[in-house]
Symmetry: C2
Subunit: 245 residues, 2 copies
């Protein structure tokens, strides 16, 4: 037996998220199916980030165990032949048999994209959240600065979360304008449920002027989901980088 790690890119538009759900098409179900067909074994992958429905990834990570003699680095080619075109393996390799992608130190970087112009662009509708209200990027940057570092992010966590501790560390949180898109880029060791989307929704309120950037300190202090802004829609969110430390 050996353990193989896959780096997986996907367009989340037509998937009900990463995690297995009875009767629904998910990234995990597609990977299990393609691997089991390829290897004639019952394969069950373990994912690193269980992204929501509609969220995209350039580099999510999954591991599985197999008795196969296929060399670890060959799985990317063999699997891409069998996967639907909205899922593509970016690399594969053998890892230590006890390597677990959720139980090791890592840094994840997410991007949240906002298309901010008068009318929507159809070619961006699945990859950026559209709003015609002009957003002030400078105010969003000032608001974002309050969130960098170690904080209790209870206000930025969906109530359905089962997380034991709501303390997390954000290493970096930037807001940049790229043409008519605003890109929020956030790097951290781990994120609470919907945390990045709630941060994006709250930064948009600061950009719109309906909250002052300085309110972010009060929102953190409240430790209450109701204090923060709305959860921004899934389509704007992409997992862009995954580093194991």
């Amino acid at each position: 037996m050996k353990r193989v790690m896959l780096v997986v890119a996907y367009d989340g538009s037509a998937c009900h998220g990463w995690q297995l759900q009875p009767g629904k098409r998910t990234v995990e179900s597609e990977l299990n199916y393609a691997l089991s067909e390829l290897l004639k074994e019952e394969i069950q992958v373990t994912g690193a980030s269980r992204t929501d429905s509609g969220v995209h990834a350039l580099c999510n990570v999954a591991v599985f165990d197999t008795a196969s003699r296929i060399p670890g680095e060959k799985f990317s080619y063999a699997l891409n032949q069998r996967l639907p075109e909205d899922i593509r393996i970016q690399s594969s390799r053998e890892v230590a048999p006890d390597f677990h992608p959720r139980h090791c130190d890592s840094r994840k970087t997410y991007e949240y994209r906002i298309l901010n112009r008068e009318f929507p662009l159809p070619t961006r509708r699945l990859y950026a959240y559209f709003t015609y209200t002009p957003l002030d990027v400078e105010k969003m940057k000032r608001a974002a600065a309050f969130l960098v570092g170690e904080h209790d992010f209870a206000s930025f966590c969906s109530v359905s979360s089962s997380a034991v501790s709501t303390v997390r560390r954000i290493y970096e949180l930037t807001v940049e304008k790229e043409g008519d898109e605003i890109v929020i880029r956030v790097c951290g060791s781990g994120f609470l449920y919907n945390m990045v989307r709630i941060i994006a929704g709250t930064l948009m309120e600061a950009g719109r002027g309906s909250r002052s950037p300085e309110e972010m300190a009060d929102i953190l202090a409240a430790k209450n989901r109701c204090a923060a802004g709305p959860t921004a829609p899934a389509c704007g969110l992409t997992l862009v980088k995954y580093e194991f430390l």
Copy 2:
């Protein structure tokens, strides 16, 4: 009666091109339907560029005549409420009653995008043609330079074309690397059927090294479709700019 001009953006992935075709969903059929429903008149738009199935546009142009009293610039808002999400009006205005978008001097700019890396990226599969064979951008630039100016582009025209003259002028043709995408950008007064896609297919052969950049002169001189490279797939092509002179 007045004539109204629409600037139309669309994702061509789920449309059978611009032009009306019996029983098929096209950009033109969607515009006619939305306008006729809105105005309770039988409306028939006239388009500027009749793009192929799978080709995208940020700014195609259409005109229509109507007895409606809705001010020209209000149509964008009213239509976007009724159009499917892969088509969005970017602006609208009243134009002279004899303005015809295909019978006036214009400059069109198309972009052809090639994703050039080891594995496909699902989030780019509808907007860039993927090839893992490394392409040499410098060779593509040298090949492109031969096509700038006025030439007989018969070699770069699909045989099914009914064009009277195959002489066209390319004002600008650039090849640039943007991350792991190569962008071919071509600006001209008009293009023959499949011309941009055949240029892209031929430049890719130069980039791959299967033809020398200098062969472009011979390909032009041959005035024969068989002399050029293959027609590159539609998904990589987007009409990005339309200027009336």
